[in-house]
């Protein structure tokens, strides 16, 4: 996992990507002229209002769909269909309900005929790392929400993908569990610095995890701003928002999100209304 080649590989580049759905009568533009770069070894977190088209962007990077125009490349190769080099972790659990924790984690190696002792050791290592030792032989519906997410992280990591894309992976978990997940995830990331692209709507989550923060506009989405989060690691949840630096980044990000929300609100979208209300309350208090 620590070979040098693994670290330099997985450079993702999006160049003026557009994506629209439907034909003339129900035409919808979801992504408009979006260019961004995801660098290996830099935990890139994308934040944007819900429904802005982040998930569509992920489907493009994963290769499940093709852009309407523009290009997506990984290390210069254009993305053409899903591949083992890019793994996506979705919002809802996609663990196979008919497989135990262990079998789920070993799915990838088995799929490519590499169920050898090295991978079994790696599976055990990862199971241990995500704290599921007692739950090896359990089925997903016997695990808690947080355990399911951890199992899914392990299932992705065992394949040692060059690129890992996480689509709001901790959405729907309660606040305490979520924070526990951040720490698990941050630790796993430090162990395996492949290219990670983490998508969220949660600003605290974004700042706690990110090396680089990409802020997106409302639909049709493109990059609104890129902020480097240079808070030293390892970060501690207990004190990160005592730091002026963290709060400054948070306010800056919220301000950009607010400006974007205002723009789309003026152009007739109601999606941003709640965010604008919440923001004005926060600023006035």
């Amino acid at each position: 996992m620590t070979e040098k080649s693994k670290i330099v590989a997985g450079h993702i580049e999006l160049k003026s990507v557009c994506k629209s759905y439907g034909s003339v009568d129900n035409y919808k533009e979801v992504i408009k002229d979006c260019s961004l770069e995801i660098t290996p070894g830099v935990l890139t977190v994308m934040i944007g209002p819900s429904g802005c088209g982040k998930s569509a962007l992920i489907r493009l990077i994963a290769g499940f769909e093709k852009p309407s125009s523009g290009s997506i490349t990984i290390d210069g190769r254009p993305v053409d269909g899903p591949g083992k080099d890019r793994l996506v972790i979705f919002q809802e659990s996609a663990l196979f309900p008919w497989m135990t924790t262990e079998d789920n984690i070993l799915y990838g190696p088995r799929a490519v005929g590499e169920e050898n002792s090295k991978n079994k050791d790696l599976a055990n290592f990862l199971i241990d790392k995500v704290g599921l030792n007692q739950f090896k032989k359990k089925f997903p519906n016997q695990l808690s929400g947080g355990m399911q997410r951890r199992c899914e992280l392990a299932r992705a990591l065992i394949n040692q993908p060059e690129v890992m894309v996480l689509d709001e992976p901790f959405r729907g978990l309660d606040e305490m569990t979520k924070e526990l997940m951040w720490e698990y995830y941050a630790n796993l990331y430090e162990e395996n610095k492949a290219t990670n692209f983490f998508v969220t709507t949660d600003i605290d989550e974004a700042i706690f995890l990110a090396d680089r923060l990409i802020i997106m506009t409302n639909i049709p989405t493109r990059v609104a701003a890129v902020i480097d989060v240079d808070i030293p690691k390892p970060r501690r949840l207990s004190n990160i928002f005592d730091l002026d630096q963290a709060n400054a980044i948070k306010m800056k990000a919220l301000k950009i999100l607010h400006e974007e929300a205002m723009k789309s609100f003026r152009s007739g979208s109601k999606a941003a209304a709640d965010f604008i209300d919440a923001y004005s309350k926060r600023v006035s208090s």
């Binding site: 994963a62 899903p82 979705f90 196979f96 309900p97 008919w98 799915y107 799929a111 519906n141 016997q142």
Partner: protein
Amino acid sequence: MIRSIKKYLTSSSTRRGIIAVIIFLLFWEICSRFHLWFGVQVPWIGKIPAPTSVVQAWIPLLDDAGYWSNWYLSAKRVFSGFLFAMLIGIPFGLILAINRTAYGIIFPTFEVLRPIPPLAWVPASIIFWPTAEMSIAFVTFLGAFYTIVINVLGGAQSIDQRYFQAAKSMGSSQWDIFKRIVLPGTVPSIAVGAAVGMGITWEVVVAAEMISGGGSQSGGSGGGLGFFIWNSYLGGSYQQIVVGMISIGIAGYISSAIIRSIGEYFTPWTRR
């Protein structure tokens, strides 16, 4: 084990169940004997022989090999029809689910044939098959077949798209996806289809035995619980009709329990 049996017997739901059965039997007994005591017949239920007289008619039958051979014959027809329905229905449903062309060609015809009740096939089946035995087996087969196919098809089609995406992105081949996603993902629906199908085969086999006379006219071996009921009716032994009915109830219950536990064995992940 002993403790769990004890727990089961002393649980309040078991107690309620036993009390309900006893009350039901008492009610039935009183209604049946009402006209002997008061000279007025209770409508409908008063015509049915009382449970005590049914038991009296039943006891000698327990020793009678002929009675048990009826069980055996019906069960044989049910399980052979059911087994064929599973063997043909499961692959058939899977092919419809994974192959668009096959679906397009076969499904419309299938949907036209499906609403035809299995019993409507009885005459055609008697003409078509050389022996009555085979025609009964065919009709029971049909009873389970449609249900199983529809369940397999529906089950395979409703597997969440996310599982396929996850499998694909981890490098699974088509065959691997079929083997490790489609097949296990369909098993719960197969189990449901089998349980429902088993119920239908019992309904169908009994009616088919009555209609085709258990094969007696057409030179078959005859017999079966449906035949037993029909014969008791023709012979005027009303107690035996009820014996036959309850026997079918028990047989159906046991079959469903077997199918359910097999289903549970193959779907450990649906247990909590």
